[in-house]
């Protein structure tokens, strides 16, 4: 684990515990996201990655601490955390299907900073074409573009939380998403959950690996991806491809 001084981390998660009903989903999850670049949150299905992102924003009840740019936001309501400069792209996109593309973007606008419509339309030209279309009638790929665009729109965003942007998309769209991700990460620090290793291995700077609600590995991306045995052990795949769901044998093997 890098021991970068915490005041250099943009996001610090400290001892996060999340319970859903009576299930203990996250166990003392702690990690940091440094300023700049892409930090990838990895792990098998059910490892708790989405819950972690939701926990950071306070969308689920959690214990522990969350610090954004040194400031403790644990008790802050979700909308206030977001106003401090966080862009969120949820797992199932959550675009408002009854609203048009333009209205979806308008809703995402925040004061304090510029609205980067030029950049958004440059990266996602199809959104400009479909500006007046109801998003419910758009394809999954187009909705994903919109969800990413929403997060990119505000120049005031210092952190992007992105949950499985390539999921369910055809391969050519996956590539587009990867390209968009890289561009976005040049501008804004990004914490991305991704199961598609072919996308993430090239662009991630840091990785945090979860298994069954616990952090089992954290460090520079190269450390993990250059080590096929480690990659296999932690994520169940050797090279490219998607992280396989855990089977009883595999999870036993990873128990530390």
């Amino acid at each position: 684990m890098t021991t970068a001084a915490s005041n250099r981390a943009l996001l610090e998660v400290d001892g996060l515990d999340v319970f859903l009903g009576e299930s203990h989903i996250l166990h003392q999850v702690s990690f940091q996201v440094p300023h700049g670049g892409i930090t990838a949150l990895l792990g098998r299905n059910g490892a708790g990655k989405t819950t972690t992102l939701r926990g950071i924003l306070g969308l689920v009840d959690r214990r522990g601490r969350v610090l954004l740019d040194g400031e403790d936001v644990t008790a802050t309501p979700t909308h206030d955390i977001v106003r401090r400069g966080v862009g969120y792209v949820p797992e199932n996109r959550d675009v408002f299907s009854q609203l048009t593309v333009q209205e979806n973007l308008r809703l995402a606008e925040r004061v304090g900073g510029q609205l980067r419509y030029d950049l958004v339309y440059e990266l996602f030209p199809r959104l400009k074409e479909r500006s007046g279309q109801r998003t419910g009638t758009m394809s999954g790929g187009e909705q994903q573009m919109l969800a990413l665009a929403r997060a990119l729109l505000n120049s005031g965003n210092k952190l992007l939380l992105i949950d499985e942007p390539s999921q369910g998309l055809a391969p050519n769209l996956v590539r587009e998403v990867a390209v968009a991700l890289e561009r976005m990460a040049e501008l804004v620090t990004t914490l991305v959950v991704e199961q598609n290793l072919s996308v993430i291995r090239r662009i991630a700077d840091q990785v945090v690996v979860l298994d069954q609600g616990r952090v089992v590995h954290a460090g520079p991306a190269g450390e993990l991806f250059d080590d096929p045995a480690l990659t296999q052990e932690l994520l169940g795949v050797s090279h490219g491809g998607r992280v396989r769901s855990s089977t009883p044998q595999q999870s036993n093997g990873v128990e530390r």
């Binding site: 924003l57 969308l59 309501p77 979700t78 909308h79 206030d80 977001v82 106003r83 969120y88 949820p90 959550d94 408002f96 299907s97 009854q98 609203l99 209205e103 308008r106 809703l107 995402a108 925040r110 929403r150």
Partner: protein, 296 residues
């Protein structure tokens, strides 16, 4: 033919009243998941406030002015009550849906009873209604009370206004999005609590307007009118779909007209029964109503 016309216009008038009550209810339930029984209380508050204001105004003033002033007063007090109710009471039970329903039930009972205690159980004549409203206009041979037209016109204006508000203002956008997915709206940095207060205010304003208009429509006001209209408003909300203004308008038309026709052309009481049956049928077959999102 004249009977049919009379029935139709009365039906449209009732539809207008139902729409005024149901539209606010629909927004509140659509956005907040709160089944607001106290909505009927806003109607009562609006009606009785306007009665009080009108009776206080001295004789020299033209009746139409008195009516307008009383109406504005009723709407203001109704809106204020709604805002107070949401911020002081309903908000405390955020997330507890049964608790919120129970709260609104208790408030409805209390406010209705208090009104009865202060004003008595007998119907009060709406002395404030301008005489031209009670006069009759002959339309294709049918003599229709002008109050019907006033109600229909008011409902139409409100519909246009609401749709414009929802489509063209930022808060309208927030409400439309929130009806679909409240937590995502928060995740975009917007404080949904403000939207909650706003829909309660809108609901209160519209319901209290409906209260005054029922006084014009029926000629009298009673403490129980709100409660008896509420069930039909619920039917309109469910059939029309939660959070959908267009749906509420459509459903109001269906319910209002169907009720009139069936009550007259069928056995007495059949219209009410059919409408109630419609609610059950829609809930069982298509819980999301004609146009709106899923109920539960």
């Amino acid at each position: 033919m004249t009977t049919f016309l009379l029935l139709t216009i009365t039906g449209l008038g009732l539809a207008g009243l139902y729409f005024l009550i149901a539209s606010g209810l629909s927004l509140i339930y659509g956005l907040m998941d709160v089944l607001n029984f106290a909505h009927a209380a806003f109607l009562t508050i609006g009606a009785y406030t306007s009665w009080v204001v009108a009776s206080q105004m001295s004789g020299g003033i033209p009746v139409t002015v008195v009516f307008l002033v009383a109406m504005v007063a009723g709407i203001l007090v109704g809106t204020l009550s709604a805002v107070l109710m949401e911020t002081v009471l309903v908000r405390r039970l955020y997330g507890e849906h049964v608790g919120q329903i129970l709260l609104t039930v208790g408030l409805l009972l209390a406010i209705t009873a208090l009104t009865r205690a202060i004003f008595g159980s007998d119907p009060l004549t709406m002395v404030v209604v301008p005489p031209w409203m009670n006069e009759v206009t002959v339309v294709f041979g049918a003599a229709v009370s002008n109050s019907r037209f006033v109600v229909i016109a008011a409902a139409l204006l409100v519909y246009i206004g609401l749709m414009a508000f929802l489509k063209h203002t930022k808060y309208g956008l927030v409400i439309r999005a929130g009806v679909e997915n409240r937590s995502m709206v928060s995740a975009l940095g917007i404080n949904v609590g403000h939207a909650f207060t706003l829909v309660f205010a809108i609901g209160g304003a519209l319901a209290s307007l409906a209260g005054i208009l029922t006084g014009a429509f029926f000629g009298t006001i009673t403490a129980d009118r709100g409660t008896s209209l509420l069930i039909f408003a619920f039917i309109v909300v469910i059939v029309g779909g939660l959070g959908s203004i267009r749906g509420s308008a459509l459903a109001a038309l269906v319910v209002g007209l169907l009720q009139q026709y069936a009550n007259y052309y069928g056995i007495i009481g059949m219209g009410d029964l059919i409408v109630v049956a419609l609610l059950a049928v829609v809930l069982l077959l298509r819980p999301q109503g004609l146009l709106g999102r899923a109920v539960a």
